[in-house]
């Protein structure tokens, strides 16, 4: 199955925006991210500091690769690998029953605690990334196509931000439902 280039470009541009914002939030408060990583209890102490710096840099690399046509495929692969890595870390902690760990994803997600909703969100993001690997139907792009790509990517990005907010709201709502005896 081949994909229209506009669909592919929109998906990848939206993914690049998501990664750029994630990296920016991590770099803005590196210590907070390091502490969040520690709470995941997956890495030995000496690895926390280098890993906390390497991850946002890898995210920015993925953004840069996604932006340009010749490296788009490589960017998709890197983005998918990073998504698999962080989703795996979240899923491992969920399987260990640790749901009160902060997400440490930065921004609004800082208020998120781990949940399967995060895993589902990341799978949908991976779907966006996977479009980078699909074959596209070659066709000349009009200016209107570029409008669709730009506006579509922006709209998708806002929907992801919105989903994050709703995921962060959920445990608060759950706390309201059970009244302490």
């Amino acid at each position: 199955m081949t994909l229209d280039p506009v669909l592919q470009l929109t998906a990848l541009a939206a993914l690049a925006l998501v990664f750029a914002s994630a990296a920016w939030h991590k770099l803005r408060d590196l210590l907070a991210f390091e502490l969040a990583l520690e709470a995941y209890a997956l890495l030995p102490g000496w690895l926390l500091r280098p890993f906390a710096r390497a991850l946002p840099l890898a995210e920015l690399t993925a953004v840069a690769l996604l932006l340009f046509a010749p490296t788009r495929g490589a960017g998709s692969v890197l983005a998918l690998a990073l998504l698999a890595l962080v989703t795996g870390a979240v899923a491992l902690n969920l399987l260990r029953g640790r749901t009160d760990v902060g997400c440490g994803c930065g921004g609004i997600e800082d208020e998120q605690t781990l949940s399967w909703a995060l895993v589902a969100r990341n799978l949908l993001l991976a779907l966006l990334g996977a479009t980078g690997l699909a074959a596209t139907t070659p066709r000349a792009l009009l200016w209107l196509d570029y409008l669709s790509v730009g506006a579509g990517a922006l709209a998708l990005f806002f929907v992801v931000v919105l989903a994050n907010q709703l995921i962060a709201n959920h445990p608060r709502l759950a706390r309201l439902r059970v009244r302490p005896a």
């Binding site: 210590l31 907070a32 502490l35 969040a36 520690e38 709470a39 902060g102 609004i108 800082d110 208020e111 209107l144 409008l147 669709s148 506006a151 579509g152 922006l154 709209a155 806002f158 929907v159 931000v161 919105l162 907010q165 709703l166 962060a168 709201n169 608060r172 709502l173 706390r175 309201l176 009244r179 302490p180």
Partner: protein, 195 residues
């Protein structure tokens, strides 16, 4: 025809983006509301020294080297606030603690307590600029007050008696400790149940 379609698409995009932003803003406001109306009063886990009992006394050394007395009769009451560098809510409550320490400074000392790896604690202490608070590290203190979840606060009066305590997630819950002390009840939950 083509330009009519193009304009229609452009207008629709503007509306879609504006609506996405509007829904996001609504979700954000709902989140803030959930936070504000969260359980009335600090949730009290009924363990450790009871409200109305004398707290066990401690003399500890703070991170800045000063000596801190907890639970001994003194001029001021004490709010012992248990935190950890890994707890996101703790970080959020630090500005609230600062404003309470300022507003109640005539009769109250705010003490931060934690335990665990000292290097991590120091990094947190410096990063969050906690220099105005005495910050003590003691596993025994947390064990004595049976602190199971963070952030946790214990309010002691001038005689070293426990006046209120509980798990704190918001400014309202922290303030409820002071209300509990003023009303002379164990916790706001208990007060509401009686009413």
């Amino acid at each position: 025809m083509t330009s009519a379609l193009a304009i229609a698409v452009a207008v629709l995009w503007v509306i879609v983006i504006a609506l996405a932003l509007a829904v996001f803003a609504l979700a954000r406001q709902i989140g803030v509301l959930y936070e504000r109306v969260a359980p009335m009063g600090a949730l009290m886990l009924d363990e450790g020294p009871k409200v109305g009992e004398r707290a066990p006394s401690f003399t500890l050394t703070a991170l800045d080297g000063s000596s801190v007395n907890i639970g001994q009769p003194s001029q001021t009451g004490e709010l012992v606030f248990f935190v950890s560098p890994t707890c996101p809510v703790c970080k959020k409550l630090i500005p609230v603690l600062r404003s309470i320490a300022r507003a109640e400074r005539d009769w109250l000392r705010v003490i931060l307590a934690s335990d665990g790896d000292e290097a991590k604690q120091r990094a947190f202490y410096e990063k969050a600029e906690l220099g105005d608070f005495p910050y003590v590290l003691s596993t025994e203190l947390g064990m004595t007050f049976k602190v199971a979840k963070l952030p946790y606060a214990v309010l002691l009066d001038e005689s070293g008696t426990v006046r209120a305590k509980g798990l704190i997630n918001s400014r309202e819950q922290l303030e409820s400790l002071f209300t509990a002390k003023e009303l002379g009840v164990e916790s706001i939950q208990q007060y509401l149940q009686k009413a």
